[in-house]
Symmetry: none
Subunit: 260 residues, 2 copies
DNA sequence: AAAGAAATGAGTGAATATGACGGACTTTGC
DNA sequence: GCAAAGTCCGTCATATTCACTCATTTCTTT
């Protein structure tokens, strides 16, 4: 146990247990593995915490994790087990592209959140307007976290507006990981909401590399607003069963297409 | 008693214990090691202080340190009970100062969080760098919520840095509700950490009215860094048993002193 | 000035917290 | 059903914190 200098500086046991209860209230449920990563302790410690909290009646212990006490009876299948679903594979592949010490910018949406979950314990600087990412990485001491300002958009758990754009003009990062509602057959990246587009454009301006994260369902896809031309992308991470014609179109525009 | 003991080198036990309580209210929790370093005494002394304060009910002793009495998530039984604790009274009084439709800026710290809890269902615009406030108001559809950008400061659950200051320059609000580590006898507002001071100053610049929230334990109080002169405040909300001399000093500087 | 009281810091064995490991158990996919 | 994967629950070694004692310093009282 070499890294125990953390102990004194880090959270107190009781404090961490409060954080567990808070996290469960936010999400409704939490897996042992996820909580361990989020709070930066071992799974054994999380199990002990969950047992203690269960005895106190502050949560309900279930196989694989715990549920919030008042959080209803939703199936636990979703938080439990491995669930190697598409977005997860893409996110894992994307995480491999990041070197320790780098700074990255995470777009809004669940794809970027999946990527954030892969970053626990890594020494990286994360910049984001994604409130779900904030919650996920809030307690990870290893990660330098920077939040862009902006108006809270509850339905998307994101920050938008001129404040967000202005914040982006003050920063520069190595890599942007961009989400999308769909990539059109001609390779143009689209989004479903107009309001996010200026923010995404500002993000592109603030990064050296632009990596688009898009599972197969986004190829080809639609959207009301154009975010950028394919030429502005450095790389696209997607899946083997993504539409080939669109992939070829992207490759032609000089974009490196990586399959997860 | 030697008069010079007051001037910095040595601190009276009672004074130090007040500082501990204040430090906990600011952070929510504190480790024995951290408190010992911060106050310049041995861990043994801190433990004795914590035990004494715990018996007085001024904090909750936990393994490794202590928690603020109202900090974190306590058992539900206590939450539902009648709570007329100091910060709550101050927060309620402060909430009465806000008109529907106004925009307000909330400082970091638990005092501002208490105020945020009073705002549920109100039609107000809330601007903040306080991550605890974000969590509290995140799901309240009625409230327009704006987050300032910045570096995440985990121990204080706040955002700091030039991004935060820059964000503040883009905004203007009706009222700022400011927290503090203590108000000196001459009325100057102090803070315990240097790094927050530029942000607090920028907040003052961004508001028409500046309201200081300070329970009785902050009167008089100390801090390493000066945030502002009393003349920069519009109003102070505190309690009837706050030090009268300090209150008089504030009134003389043209500050309206409101008792909760 | 001297004696007494209170506070402090250091040291020690006991108690608590943590992480790793292995065998028993549960869930999942076939 | 069965096998595989994942999860749990003991146990142990180690690091940290605690309660206690005692000597020293500091403050108060006589």
């Amino acid at each position: 146990m070499t890294d125990f200098a953390w102990y004194g500086l880090s959270v107190l046991p009781k404090q961490r247990q409060d954080q567990i209860v808070r996290a469960l209230r936010a999400d409704g449920a939490g897996g042992v593995k996820a909580l361990a990563a989020q709070l930066g302790v071992s799974e054994a410690t999380i199990r002990r915490d969950l047992e203690s909290l269960h005895e106190q009646g502050r949560l309900t212990r279930v196989y694989g994790g715990a549920l919030a006490v008042d959080g209803g009876d939703e199936p636990f299948a979703e938080v439990s087990a491995v669930r190697t679903d598409e977005k997860d594979r893409v996110a894992r592949k994307a995480a491999e592209l990041i070197e320790d010490g780098e700074s990255i910018l995470l777009d809004i949406g669940t794809t970027a959140l999946q990527l954030a979950k892969q970053l626990h314990g890594r020494s990286v600087t994360v910049v984001t307007s994604n409130l779900a990412v904030l919650e996920e990485l809030q307690n990870d001491e290893q990660i330098e976290l920077i939040i862009l300002g902006g108006f809270v958009r509850r339905s998307y758990r994101s920050l938008v507006g001129y404040l967000t754009e202005e914040s982006l003009r003050q920063l520069h990062v190595n890599t942007l990981f961009l989400g999308t509602s769909g990539v059109r057959p001609d390779g143009r990246v689209m989004d479903s909401t107009m309001i996010e587009v200026p923010v995404k454009r500002a993000m592109i301006q603030a990064a050296d590399r632009v990596v688009l994260l898009a599972d197969a369902s986004k190829f080809p896809g639609h959207g009301v607003a154009k975010v950028c031309e394919p030429g502005e992308l450095t790389m696209v991470v997607t899946e083997p069963d993504a539409d080939e014609a669109t992939r070829a179109q992207l490759a032609e525009a000089g974009v490196q297409v990586v399959l997860a």
